[in-house]
Assembly symmetry: C2
Homo-oligomer: 294 residues x 2
């Protein structure tokens, strides 16, 4: 729509960008943010309705024009390679490789670059997945414990990076768990649209920094309609958030008939007080909780 | 690009809309004009590069959502059915029929509704056509001549509409040419992008009301680049217009690197004085010359 782009999300971490969904115009929305398509290394698709994937051929060509040469990993429900292959009829030549990861189980986990990507099947009228993106964080290195155990200084760094080290002179082996504390809270963002409210959504959103969730309709009495089209009302999303307790809930994927999503927020805040009606171009820097950048 | 849509053109005549090309976002540009996709009955494609067709699946779905049920005629170079079939993987169900007209000759003419559509092959790096849209206009009915010939009044209207009539009482046959003057000047709009300058462009643009033509580059010294990518500079388009003498020339299809197309116009106007650097959303009402609406 004029002044309202289709729903998608971009994560940027350690120079490796990850996009979820790419409808018509997503690449323009990205340019409006001042973001290049070149560093995108991963694109995840929730499902293959046109509003979530029709912008792919144009984006692929723009990535080519931006001289991307590193491989692009595509993740999505079964049929990914067939759907992308069909769309590439208008983007046949690209200067980078496409790698396909097709989801087939109800829950799958991938580790790519800094991201742990959890894909979980939701309930739409065609196969559809939600995504939880996590940046895990190791425990703290305990230097006092390392000294106490007499671990040679030259092993400390590698132990911090998860390697087991053996001192060839003494034959003694040191494992990371000897010196590393419990894993600390990392970062988690969940993204979920085009579904009925199912418990798995709340499960993956538990304690997330940011839960991005559809708010297709704002009126409670549109629940029947939402049920018919397999979408969620803002109330339904908010109730999932109330269970999951993310630090913040952003609504997106509004019905074209919804002119002002904010008008429903008074009622929504009673269900979940940290809900916000997101708008085009919203972004948020999220750091580890003891070093928040935002 | 932000604030610059891809090139396309819509003609609207007698409730039957005709679109030429449909890149990513064309349907939004259309909405910004306040135009519905529902009355579109014909879409012509110049060629199958993504910037000219990637918006099709989304547009088809929007036409379906607008409850279009009448057939949609698609016109384009060979491969049309294959390309559209591939793109429909993300728009499989539509409440209207698609009809395909694949161009195979260098010049082809179709008559659809009020339009005479001339498609002519141009010179790009894949098969590409320009289009001339004409609304022909019959000659004037000569009532004095009809009276002189004693043609019964009841035949006049049908003779004006091109039918031959026979008076069953007298056995006399009347033909339209007895009472109709020479065809009058109708309306002609030509649209041509993604090509080197070839004579056929000027031929079809002769005496057009409006010639819409690519102005990929504005600097004369980019002609070598234009030659390499099989595009045209503004100068080359203007020289074609100088031959064809359309009433007006509009440039479009600017290179993304061109920030301000107007800056080249002083020089261009020396080649063809009725040239204009068109911008997003430009439209023009064109009537028969003795009843101009604009």
């Amino acid at each position: 729509m004029p002044k309202r782009w289709l729903t998608s999300m971009m994560a940027r971490c350690e120079g490796m960008d990850l996009l979820i969904d790419c409808g018509e115009g997503t690449q323009i929305a990205m340019k409006e943010k001042g973001w290049s398509p070149k560093p995108i290394d991963i694109i995840c698709f929730t499902h293959y309705h046109a509003d979530h994937i029709s912008g792919l051929p144009g984006l692929l060509l723009s990535m080519g024009n931006a001289e991307k040469t590193s491989p692009l990993i595509l993740v999505g429900p079964k049929g990914l390679q067939k759907v992308v292959g069909a769309l590439r009829v208008i983007a046949p030549e690209l200067p980078f490789e496409l790698k396909f990861y097709e989801l087939s189980e109800d829950r799958e986990q991938l580790k790519l670059g800094p991201y742990v990507i959890d894909a979980y099947r939701v309930n739409h009228n065609i196969p559809c997945y939600g995504y939880a993106l996590s940046i895990p964080r190791k425990g703290e290195f305990n230097r006092f414990r390392a000294q106490e155990l007499g671990i040679p200084l030259r092993f400390w760094n590698r132990l911090q990076h998860g390697q087991t080290m053996t001192d060839e002179e003494t034959g003694v082996t040191y494992t990371p768990d000897m010196v590393m504390g419990e894993d600390r809270r990392g970062i988690k963002v969940v993204y979920c649209t085009d579904t009925r409210p199912v418990p798995v959504i709340a499960e993956y959103a538990a304690d997330a920094d940011l839960m991005i969730c559809e708010g297709m309709y704002g009126e409670e009495d549109k629940e029947a309609k939402a049920r018919g089209y397999k979408h969620m009302t803002m109330q339904e999303s908010a109730r999932l958030a109330a269970q999951a307790q993310p630090r913040e809930l952003w609504f997106t994927h509004y019905s074209p008939s919804m002119v002002n999503p904010k008008q429903y927020m008074d009622e929504i805040l009673k269900i979940f007080p940290r809900a916000r009606a997101a708008k085009d171009g919203w972004s948020r820097d999220i750091g580890y909780e003891d070093r928040q950048q935002d």
